[in-house]
Homo-oligomer: 233 residues x 4
């Protein structure tokens, strides 16, 4: 079942340690299949060097396991609620990558200071609030997804315009139209988080990127007038 | 004697440079054997790329060599006093890993700022006091173990609830129910130490993790209600 | 056409990830051919591990593709305007390398604090202004080249005396008499940017290098009295 | 001539990029032969991946080439003056390693904040003054050696008690009883420099290591009462 997608999800998970975004099992990647309405996700706590495509778990949008002999990632309900709420998502990645997690621990949004950011994120990457005791009791991972949705609603952000979030005190989630894009966005976020720390240490008055350059760079790579890469030829 | 455990201890020692926790010979891992009451430890000052399982030294709880032709790690008495005092320990690791050692040099506890910390350490990782002249004269490595014990007693910490300590001006010791856990905890500590530095540089008012989230994450991975990984299936 | 130069440009591009200066496709290297007046540049958005010499695109000084089936780098007009204005340039490199990009985001020049800098850059590496809305509308990548030229003119800098620039909010461009030198200068700049941040964090009053030592080190490696390396023998 | 020593010097030079202490050709290692009174040093500006033992240059204590078809390192006179003044030196290493060079650019001594430092350096690693115009004119590399000697004399330091120095605005030199020790000390210095920066960022009041612990750790590895490693068995 969904064998090709399992291969993609395996590959995406293996990209995470390769890009130095995860240690041990501290991350997970999933991909959504529009036809069945199921998604494929990494099993919980299985070491990356032992991971096989057949270990991937198929889950429905309520977080129920449809196929697979292993427990899915403990973060599965967060993935489920995001896929359910945002049908445009094709892949989701969660890591504890060092620089993005430092920002998540700081509780501060990552503003757009450069074009590396603007090429991928159309504006600041938001940091959520902490979950309440009630939310933890009701279902921590499920409510984590709801807090992400709340954050994007309150700020009026398009989910694919800013394909990343920081969970306060936890770490980053990124996503995209497919799981490859979600991995890519996780790498962008990690680099941007590192560079912004030091940009403001060099010059604490360093400005955010002017809106006109944010607009220009985002539109070079996204939307109908995009001209980066080989697609337009 | 204890050949299987020697293999495990060798492997654990080799994990340390692989995870960028040690340069040269600046680290050691040991494992305790409950049946014999002996522990197996790396020899002193032997380069990691020459290390063989048969080089590992078997030592009793007084620090006396039981088997082995090489000198055991100079930190052997610290391991011995910890194993003797805490029968629940199955493995101990000592490194001079950069970020944890920077914290050890700062003399400051590592507070729980994120879930990476809370998944492994139930509260702040304590930093000890310096040893006194008297303690140095009486037996530096032995008294190092006693200072760790004193620190955990004074703070009322369970040794497996917070399986790590920073020795002021020296570096980290970590431990666990086995030597693999001790290595794992050394990696967690190194990551947490790095991330906390920059979290407070981004936002000097960044709060510690709320107790409710610390409780939640620690209990996801530890205790009777744990549901992370594959064990419960 | 220009097959030998294509091989050189391919090799130069592959040096960029090897020196940890680029992630994914975030960089480009080009080389100028004096005989034809054309330059060879990396195609846009093609992954480094798939890049072949035959993928390289031949472009004229107006930025028009002369040969090649792929789109050239989206930064091609910047390369073109620099080659057109400075006939002494044989190669150009653009990256989003972390430390240089952090400086570019800070908007601050990189002053000469050490001999690593002085061996390659004869004085501070300048940071440009942001482009205006009008410049973005007229042709963003072309005007990026013009802003670099303006910066060097206003400061009276020789283009090969300081073979690097930071684009405010974007990242570094480096160049040289050939593309190998441009890559080399990109590595120097990245190292210098990292070291200067921490030098001033250790001592916020740390001085720039005295002029006499800047002169001495630059002249050890450049000009008629150079005596570094094997060339003079 | 001195073929075995050339092999050692080659190997020592190759250790430098392996330990991430040098980029390109920015470093050099040499070893002294007590019998002939000559030393063997890396040629100038030759890439590490092309370096062969037969490329090593034999030089006398006046810096005159005795054997070898390549130019010796441009820093050869610094090595010569140090070997001439300190007959106890068997090897010298110079690098532009990032963290030590940041300290050299800051102009600040590296104080002993931890046992990683105390295991190797008996007290602070000094930073020299800048060279004067007169010294530059008289012979920059030769006078660099003299400034190192002046620094150790003024502070009353034993050359093997603190086997490292920072040249203000330049970078580190380390040395030892042989070239392997000089490489080892370069790695220690790089680690210590990194850790001290962040220790004082975590806690700007973090104290230096108490003298009693500096004494204890240094004597564990040096002098007649040393008990670290396998030598004493």
């Amino acid at each position: 079942m969904l064998e090709a997608l399992k291969e993609k999800v395996l590959k995406a998970n293996l990209e995470l340690p390769k890009h130095h975004l995860v240690e041990f099992t501290w991350g997970n990647a999933s991909a959504f299949d529009k036809e069945t309405g199921y998604f494929v996700i990494k099993p919980s706590g299985v070491s990356y060097d032992q991971l096989k495509a057949s270990d991937m778990v198929v889950v429905d949008l309520e977080g129920k396991v449809i196929e697979g002999s292993l427990n899915p990632s403990s973060d599965t309900p967060t993935h489920a609620v995001l896929y359910k709420n945002y049908p445009e998502l094709g892949g989701i990645v969660h890591t504890h990558s060092n620089w993005a997690t430092a920002w998540a621990q700081s509780g501060v949004d990552v503003s757009a200071m450069g074009t590396t950011h603007a090429d991928t994120f159309y504006g600041p990457v938001p940091c959520t609030r902490y979950l309440s005791q009630k939310e933890i009791d009701q279902g921590y991972e499920y409510e984590t997804g709801n807090v992400i949705i709340e954050t994007f609603k309150e700020r009026g952000l398009g989910i694919l315009d800013v394909p990343a979030v920081l969970l306060h005190g936890h770490g980053p989630f990124t996503w995209g139209k497919d799981v490859e894009a979600a991995v890519y966005n996780a790498v962008v976020l990690e680099n941007v988080c590192k560079m912004n720390i030091f940009a403001r240490q060099i010059n604490s008055y360093a400005p955010d990127l002017p809106q006109r350059i944010l607009d220009k760079h985002y539109s070079r790579k996204h939307g109908k007038d995009a001209y980066y890469g080989q697609k337009m030829k």
